[in-house]
Every structure is written in C-alpha cells, then in structure tokens.
Amino acid sequence: MQELMKAKAQEMLSNGSVTRVLAWKKGDFETNPEPAFFTKHVDDMVYNQYCATNLSNFMVGVEKEEGKTLVFLKPCDTFSFNQLLKENRISRDKAYIIGVGCEGVKVIDEMQETGALLEKCNVCTKIKHMVYDELIGEDVTRRVTDDPLTRFKDIEAIEKMDAGERFAFWQGEFSKCIRCNACRNACPPCGCKKCVFDNDNYDTAQKANVTTFEEQMFHIIRAYHVAGRCTDCGECTRVCPQDIPLHLLNRKFIKDINALYGEFQAGADIETLGPLTDFNIDQDAEPSIVYDRG
C-alpha cells in the first residue's frame, strides 16, 4: 500500500497536477514518522501503523500558498478535513485527497511498541472516508466495534461516581498538566488566530497553571471551544506528554449533545448546522435537566 501511495504521489508531483504532497516522512526509527511536505521526490515517504498525525490540521498552513496539495487521509482524518472545510478554513479545490485504509495506530513509548493501539482506535467506528478524490487500500480498514456507544463507557463510569470522587479524579488528572498547549495546537477545529489563553489583552492569558483553578479553566475552555465541532479524532489525548485522558472531556460534550439535541457527528458532512449554532424552539431541554439527573 505504501508503494502504491508513493507511486501515485510521485506521478502527480511529476506531471504537475499537484504542487506538493502532504504525507508522513521516514524518521530515525521506524516508529517515528513525521508529517512532511514533499515537493520533488517522495522517496522518504512512509505509511505504516505509526503514522498517527492527523494531516488535516496541516492543510490550514498551506491554504494561502499557491497550488494544489495532495494529502493522504485516514478515515477518521477525513472528518476533521470536513469540519475545517465547513468552517471555511481550507478550500476543497486546493486539495487532492487520497483516502488511505487504516489498521489502527500503535502506541509508541521510547520508540518501542507498547502493544496497544491508541485509545480512539479501540473504539473506532469511523471506517469510511467522508471526503476523498481517490481511495487506496481502503479495504484494510477494520471494524472494531459495532456498538457506537462503546466510546462512552469510560464517561458513564465517571458519571456514576459521586461529585467528590469526580472532583478528585479530575484534580489528579489536571494537576499533571504542564500547559505545553500541545492538545490545543494539535486540534484541527481549535483554530483561533489568537487564543484567549495567549492574548495579553485579557487577563485570561496564562503561560503556566499557577493555581488549580487555572488548570481547570484551561481544560474546560479548551474542550468547550470545540464542543459541537470536535470530531473525536483523538489527537489531544495522543499528543499529551503527561497522558491526561483529554478525550474524556470532549466526548462528554459529544455524549451530552447526542442525548439532548440528537445524534450528531462533526465532520460527517459540511452542511448540517453544528449543535451549538442551532436550536430547536420547542424541544431543547432546559439547563435544569443537569440537576434533575440526580
């Protein structure tokens, strides 16, 4: 499959139908390919189960540049691509998308396999490409679970705790945060030019979590700002150097949205209004529903 991809990329580069290729490049180890742009030769290109990066995010960077970009997207990455498209942050005609099959992404530590797959891959239901011009090896994509609700299991477990336990759980997680902002920067929909946490014009700007409150504020707001736009691509959890299960925040919003406003999958298409930019006059629940849950 990698060879097919390379051949196609080389062909399109050579005949000038695209200006650059966005794919993964071989690293020092087999296990650390990096996202890279190729403009002439694609000899160093790789595709294997260590290619974790969601390349959609890098499309924003080349949006203003001349020419078309050939980009390889795994099925779950295409959701992010659609979401960015919907928010007009990238344009469809500047991309040639080749959807590639995915067997799940392996977790690496110290360049060694840990034997596990990324959390998102264990509950993956995104087996179809949502947007593409061409597919390569899409049939390798495996179905992990038939139950789309599997991914909410961990959240239900937390919901079952009492408030004190929940608080202690999250304090334990948030206190690990070093505010490297990797979760924010790796997130495709998280795209403000000047983040509220970087903007010195407000005193919300923080470079470090000085108090436990600032830890909470950052993580609540980070997740909230992408609520209804988060495609659950799992990049935040993957990139966190401190292993904070950030997807548990994003997925809580997804779970609430599904339960209260109807099933919604961000990035499934580019027309449907996002749940927080839409409303239903008669059927929307009142906030008091939170208290009635017991």
């Binding site: 919901e159 600032e214 707001i221 997740a223 925040l249 809580k252 949205i257 930019t277």
Partner: protein
C-alpha cells in the same frame, strides 16, 4: 478573608431587556432579595461566555446565576435559544468535573416578573449558603 460567619458572593448575569428590568421591578416593588447578589448587566443572556462563569468563580463568587428572557421573548429573537444549549452543556460539564450542582443556575425572568426575580434569588442564595464556601473552583490568590 476575614474570619467569621460565611457570607457568600453570588454573581447574577442579567440580560438588559427582561431580567435586569425584572430586578428593577423587584426593587421598585420593594421586594426583598439578598444583598449577597451582585448583578452584572449583559445585553443578552447569550452574551455570557463560559469564561464569564468561570472567572466569576475565580474572583471569589460562591454561586453564579444567569437570567434571561423567557424562550420566545428574546429582544434579539433567538439569543436565549443559544444560551439554553450552551449553558446546559457548560453546567453539565461542571457537574462532570465534580463542581457542586447547586452553585450554578439559570432562570428565565421577564421584565414583569419582579416577584419571581426576588423568589429565585432568595432561593438560590439560600442554596449557596447551604453549600458553603466555594472550594472546588477557587483561585487561592484571590482569596488571601
């Protein structure tokens, strides 16, 4: 913070068109509501950014209540429909993180509902008294 009896601080975000007028009416009708409530006027309840709620807690609030026009009565037609969804999700998230539910509230109060405004505030402040000082969403720097 002075040692002594706990006196909470409750921040009420009131929309300019209905709830703030409702508070006014409560005042002119000489209805009593607790002095612990500090009102912040916003153009519409949908102006309340989740950061406002968090920052209120950071700066020392023990409870936050948001008041807006009844659904259907928004001065801007649809503002409070957005509020309804946003704040539901926010409060649900705060609950999920283990913040006491009783510290947050949302109520629709029209310009004619002075009595409702006073009742809601009395009840909410009492609830916050019962919960005691806000510890879980506090910033110690603002307290010493």
């Amino acid at each position: 913070m002075s040692v002594g009896e706990f006196k909470p601080l409750v921040v009420a975000f009131c929309c300019n068109w209905c709830s703030y007028a409702g508070a006014d009416l409560a005042g002119t009708s000489r209805l009593q509501y607790p002095a612990e409530v500090k009102i912040i006027k916003v153009p519409c309840s949908c102006r309340v950014n989740p950061l406002f709620v968090l920052r209120a807690f950071q700066k020392g609030a023990d409870g936050v209540i948001i008041c807006g026009c009844h659904p259907g009565d928004c001065h801007y037609s649809t503002g409070n429909y957005y509020t309804r969804r946003r704040i539901t999700l926010l409060y649900s998230m705060l609950d999920y993180l283990g913040i006491e539910k009783g510290r947050t509230h949302l109520e629709w109060v029209s310009a004619a509902e002075g009595v409702k405004f006073a009742t809601v505030m009395n009840k909410f402040v009492e609830q916050v008294y019962e919960l005691g000082e806000n510890r879980r969403l506090e910033d110690w720097r603002c307290k010493s």
